[in-house]
């Protein structure tokens, strides 16, 4: 290796690192700001100076958010034990987010498979329908969804006020993308594999479950991720639909911290950080899959 070559390589590496460190600074700046706010005990609108660790920094906000009951979210305001705590909110958020993912994956994958593999009457119309849904904003769909889910009664309450109902409502908005993405991915799976299986005597369902789904893990991961995100972070539908504080989610709790007149920014920031960690973890865990799961029909094209 010539010295010139080595120098060139070092320069290249340095150049790359400099560039990427710059990008890192760009990415990290707002994050550090949120952390700074969460550590600031003075609890005013914004910290008065640009320091990462503000004077008198404390983990008080985190402690409060994680361990103390949320006094606004109580089944019975006089009984503190009926108030929601972080673990309970977390549990509900998980239920809703996972429920949304499940509904999206099950419904989305079966519909996408049918659109991908079968030729049937109404196929083109259906595909067009999903594209339309993808582009239509859902501003005006809250009221009809509310009424719809209120029609279904589970025991003495309606589906609408349960976490399942909420998951279904979220799935309603996340499914168009799921179908579109999954269909695109299924299209790239070679039909020869299924044909081989059919020759071996497998049924349609078996080929779907044993061959297509495992090969489509990346696209399924993307679907799970996006629908989980929706279920985890949405609060407008949640606050409109749910009446029972014991079913409230983390996103709803975050929203409740925004006061009519002022917001306790320390706690709000701390809650934001803690609420974002599971999503971040999920993203990191599924990172490999996202990269290939979004390559809709890309290189196999």
């Amino acid at each position: 290796m010539s010295r010139k070559g080595l120098l060139a390589r070092i320069l290249r590496q340095a150049g790359l690192q400099l560039f990427l460190l710059g990008v890192t600074a760009f990415v990290a700046f707002p994050l550090l700001w949120v952390i700074s706010m969460a550590l600031d005990p003075r609890d005013i609108d914004k910290p008065l100076t640009l320091t990462l660790i503000p004077p008198g920094a404390s983990l008080d906000a985190f402690r409060k958010v994680l361990f103390e009951p949320f006094l606004l979210l109580c089944r019975n305001p006089t009984d503190l034990s009926s108030c929601m705590t972080f673990p309970r909110l977390l549990q509900n958020s998980l239920l809703v987010a996972l429920g949304t993912s499940l509904v999206c994956v099950v419904l989305g994958a079966s519909a996408a498979y049918a659109f991908s593999r079968f030729r049937f009457i109404g196929r083109k119309a259906g595909m067009l329908g999903f594209i339309v849904l993808l582009m239509l904003p859902s501003t005006g769909t809250l009221a009809p969804l509310y009424v719809l889910l209120s029609q279904v009664k589970l025991g003495d309450e309606s589906l609408r006020s349960t976490l399942l109902g909420l998951a279904i409502a979220y799935a309603a908005t996340a499914i168009p993308f799921a179908v579109w993405n999954l269909k695109g991915y299924f299209d790239t799976v070679p039909k020869e594999l299924e044909e081989a299986a059919v020759i071996d005597g497998a049924s349609v369902t078996q080929t779907f479950i044993r061959i297509i789904l495992p090969l489509s893990a990346p696209a399924l991961a993307v679907t799970v991720l996006f629908s989980f995100m929706t279920g985890w972070t949405e609060f407008i539908l949640a606050w409109t639909f749910l009446d029972n504080p014991s079913r409230f989610t983390l996103a709803m709790a975050l929203r409740s911290m925004q006061g009519q007149y002022s917001t306790p920014w320390s706690e709000f920031s701390a809650m934001s950080i803690v609420m974002s960690l599971p999503i971040l973890l999920l993203f990191f865990a599924l990172q490999r899959y996202i990269i290939s799961g979004l390559t809709v029909g890309g290189v196999k094209g």
Binding site: P30, F120, D187, S272
Partner: protein, 350 residues
């Protein structure tokens, strides 16, 4: 698929006399799709159909008690059918909303969309290339870090950026202060980002206030990781031999990029750009929470205007019509994009 148009069926399945086969396959398909389709029809399609219906009526607060499932409410609360009047009013600027100008709204929305997507793709691909360099140290760490803006809940990042743009205590202005101290510059440290009405760049771009550049920065911060992820996937499947062969032929980096990289990542990037366009066009969180449409409605986009029509003016029919207008525009953009993509595909050197 490089486009999102409906793919044509394969020749092999159109064999003459295969109608019974088609029907049989149809039935299997329908059994497969029926449960999913039914549920989706109810929860996804029906509310949107309802919205379409609302857009043709003058639905206001007096009609709130109208319930499709309860025929008793039809007589008293049914909204008045007005046909396309809502749409005409939207286009003619005759709706009574402050600072409303449809053409300016549309122009801004389109400018917002295309400038964002341009930056997203440019920055995203550039960073993906950097990350894809074989000799890069710390690749995994960077990849993990760069996913964060995309992974964080949009509501939280929007409020954070809003906070950062505050004119007295915001991080951006404080950063300028620090820069003034360290670099000796004299940047203003109390810019009222969302309020200043003087456009920083005049002439053709005079309709873009300072707030536009501020929210542009915030949205670029949010959106480039998605493009990087897609580009990375595509880059990873380009065989290295192609580059080696090009180098032996004496190709420069520039030529390598435009002749090899760009055409090969294109099939992956195009649907991503399509998605990015739709998402950016309807990017609610960033506009609504950061600039709130200020100053004077010059950073308002269609979906935030529709939202305000529902929650502030309570004009539900008009808001529904707005949503439909958004759809029509996006659909048009998609069609145009498909035509352009297909036209230029033929010229690719694969």
């Amino acid at each position: 698929m490089a486009t999102i148009s409906v793919p044509s069926s394969r020749p092999g399945q159109r064999a003459v006399g295969d109608l019974s086969g088609r029907l049989r396959r149809s039935r299997t398909a329908w059994i497969y799709i029926l449960p999913a389709g039914l549920i989706m029809g109810v929860i996804s399609f029906f509310p949107q159909l309802y919205q379409v219906g609302m857009s043709l009526t003058d639905y206001r607060i007096q009609n709130l008690r109208f319930n499709l499932f309860n025929p008793e409410t039809y007589v008293k609360y049914a909204p008045e059918f007005v046909g396309v009047e809502n749409f005409l009013r939207i286009l003619n600027n005759t709706i009574n909303v402050e600072n409303y100008d449809f053409l300016r709204l549309l122009l801004f929305n389109l400018t917002w969309t295309f400038s964002n997507v341009a930056f997203h793709v440019g920055l995203g691909v550039l960073i993906a290339l950097a990350l894809n360099s074989r000799e890069l140290i710390g690749r995994r760490v960077y990849r993990a870090l760069f996913i964060i803006p995309w992974a964080l809940p949009g509501y939280i990042t929007a409020l954070t950026w809003k906070n950062m743009y505050d004119d007295r205590f915001g991080a951006i202005n404080q950063l300028f202060g620090v820069a003034n101290g360290v670099l000796g510059t004299s940047l203003p440290t109390d810019t009222r980002w969302m309020v200043v009405a003087q456009p920083p760049i005049g002439g053709l771009l005079a309709f873009l206030p300072l707030a536009f550049y501020a929210v542009l920065l915030a949205n670029v911060w949010l959106g480039w990781p998605f493009m990087t992820v897609v580009a990375t996937g595509a880059l990873q499947s380009i065989p290295h031999e192609l580059y080696e062969a090009a180098e032996m032929d004496g190709a420069s980096s520039w030529q390598k990029f435009w002749r090899i990289t760009a055409p090969l990542i294109r099939p992956a990037m195009v649907p991503a750009i399509m998605l990015g366009t739709i998402w950016t066009f309807n990017q609610f969180n960033v506009i609504y929470f950061i600039s709130e449409g200020d100053p004077l409605g010059r950073t308002e986009i269609l979906v935030t205007q529709a939202f305000k029509l529902v929650y502030e003016k309570r004009l539900y029919g008009l808001a529904a019509a707005f949503s439909l207008v958004v759809f029509i525009i996006l659909f048009a953009i998609t069609l145009i994009n498909n035509r352009v993509t297909r036209a230029t595909e033929a010229y690719d050197v694969a």
